[in-house]
Subunit: 355 residues, 2 copies
């Protein structure tokens, strides 16, 4: 997370070069600028291909006869592994399903690979596995293959889970982070940052009048309702690591458009706001695990919003801003009193191991 | 790995019950009896479905119009990450490709998820990534999606890689570990245990006149040649964790047949034999990462062996024994002087983090 910065376009356009680091730092896992830098400096030069380089949350792979599958993989290292509103197992299933869902894909099957630390309690493993079972049932997906490795005490941390999701890519739609156009609207499905602050509050031992709960949930069904309401959804993203600000910066950069958000329109839970104020954090950089942001044509905005609000996971859906032709690659935020600031990508790492 | 045990069918049929452990021990990652126990006691009861429960090295998933994809996932935690004949990157690519190959599937794409430890040298990461790039090129597969997480120093171990492979399942063949029949032959593609002993020799600082090298290699092309030579290959396995003995025990159990192997026919490198003698280990439990075992009808044995031996990765292919109707579920080994002993599944864990 990051505090407000002055409106300085030059600064936000200049990523930290890979050469500045010779060792991995926590920020390389932030989902923000350092993660992007590692991708651009190490992974893309080696593995670069049009599918990987498109940087969508899921890869689309042609199979045969025009059928395409969508593929996504994610490692989950969240700490603590049990938290209000979920656990690492539920997160591993929903996080992967959501990466498929925001591409419009229908999740088919999951693969799950476990890296366990010697000494991890079997009862905790059973609890995690049972939570995965319930999350799979909720989202109607099946785990068809898996793997378990064990590392010595002190060479891991209880449990890491890597889940890979395979879905059927939509046949009649093409979503892309490069397809936002000036005039389009920016919609979010609900309050933002709930997951990040729930994790942080457990870690820091914070307590509020209400319990901060993760929003961890499967988005497949919500996306289906949105797709039924409109054929001009440009793209969707689930704002996980790096939060809303990072997700929107990625879209702005890929589409070469600007974005102007209205701060007052962005929904946050009151307790998330309080926790952020207390900790000096910006909730726009805090992770959600059951929310999405969608770029939609202006004409279809009302229909998509209505579809979202009719769904249990979208009751607080909101139109938070517009796509602009000016300031391409940048996201700006207008406050209630009319001041405007740039909302850069997450620069460092202030909340590690959030997922 | 395990020392020779007396011919005691009752003992080998009785797995250690899950209830005997309340915490994860290294043996749960061995690929042997404790791994099977964890699968049967924790994962299958939660996730059980016909695909997962078939316990093949890859899952086959129907997509549409009769097309089926094969899916496999594996976490790689090998230590050390660089070793003679390979590194964790090459292993992660080939290990996953081989799980597809032994199911007769043509590998299409890979997904790769990295869990990095804070402080891991970027130069080492670049070396691993470059090795993955070369292994992908060699096997003609593409990494289409990935993920990177970072954990604090002391909560991981340099680098863990989980690779998931997706391939096109064969349209006209059905391989199954449950399909071995009495009279079939057991073939191996080359010397066994090279990978396991290469890792162990680096870890223990052993040196021999020759360098023990991992056999890490992609098996796709060898399998293609074998499939062209015969339509009566029942099943194939790559004998990784748990070695040849564990792979054959799984087939014997799933097919409800016995196996009788001729010890003298099983190929091992001389230096692997020496190292095993020195360390008191049985090479039949040591991992290979570029070898396969195949169960083939007696009639096609000569043709398949010839195809294997014509391939660079199969020059030392050998017929090592037969499938029998007696002793179903058990593998026995007949020595050169005619004594017979049972070859049980790997019971404990004497060589952790081999892959």
């Amino acid at each position: 997370m990051s505090r407000a910065e002055p409106l300085d376009l030059a600064a936000s356009a200049c990523p930290v070069p890979a050469s500045q680091y010779d060792r991995i730092v926590m920020g390389h896992g932030s989902g923000g600028r350092l993660s992007a830098d590692l991708l651009a400096g190490v992974f893309l030069p080696a593995f670069g291909n049009p599918t990987l380089s498109s940087l969508e949350d899921q890869a689309t792979v042609p199979i045969a006869d025009g059928h395409r599958i969508a593929v996504t993989t994610d490692g989950f290292v969240v700490h603590p592994i049990f938290f209000p509103g979920g656990d690492i197992g539920r997160l591993a299933v929903n996080g992967t399903i959501n990466d498929l869902a925001v591409g419009g894909a229908r999740p088919l099957v999951l693969a799950a690979a476990f890296i366990l630390e010697e000494g991890f309690a079997l009862d905790s493993l059973r609890r995690v596995v049972d939570s995965m079972r319930r999350a799979c049932a909720e989202a109607a997906v099946t785990i068809v293959t898996g793997d378990t490795k064990v590392v010595e005490r002190g060479k891991g941390d209880s449990i890491f889970i890597t889940t890979t999701g395979i879905g059927l890519a939509p046949v009649d739609r093409e979503f892309s982070v490069a397809s936002a156009r000036p005039g389009d609207r920016v919609l979010v499905s609900g309050t933002l940052g709930d997951h990040g602050l729930a994790i942080l509050s457990v870690r820091e031992g914070l307590s509020f009048e209400t319990t901060l709960e993760s929003d961890c949930a499967p988005l497949t069904d919500l996306v289906r309702a949105m797709m039924a309401a409109s054929t001009s959804i440009r793209c969707m993203r689930d704002p996980t690591r790096g939060g809303l600000a990072s997700a929107l910066n990625e879209i702005a950069a890929a589409s070469r458009v600007g974005m102007r958000l209205a701060a007052d329109a962005i929904p946050h839970r009151a307790d998330v706001r309080s926790a952020c104020e207390l900790l000096g954090l910006d909730p726009l950089y805090a992770a959600s695990e059951g929310r999405l942001v969608a770029i939609v044509s202006k004409a279809d905005t009302a229909a998509v919003l209505a579809a979202m609000r009719s769904h249990p996971l979208g009751t607080q859906a909101a139109d938070i801003g517009e796509i602009t032709a000016d300031h391409p690659g940048h996201v700006t935020l207008r406050s209630g009193i009319g001041t405007e600031r740039i909302l850069p990508m997450l620069a460092g790492e202030q909340l590690p191991r959030i997922c």
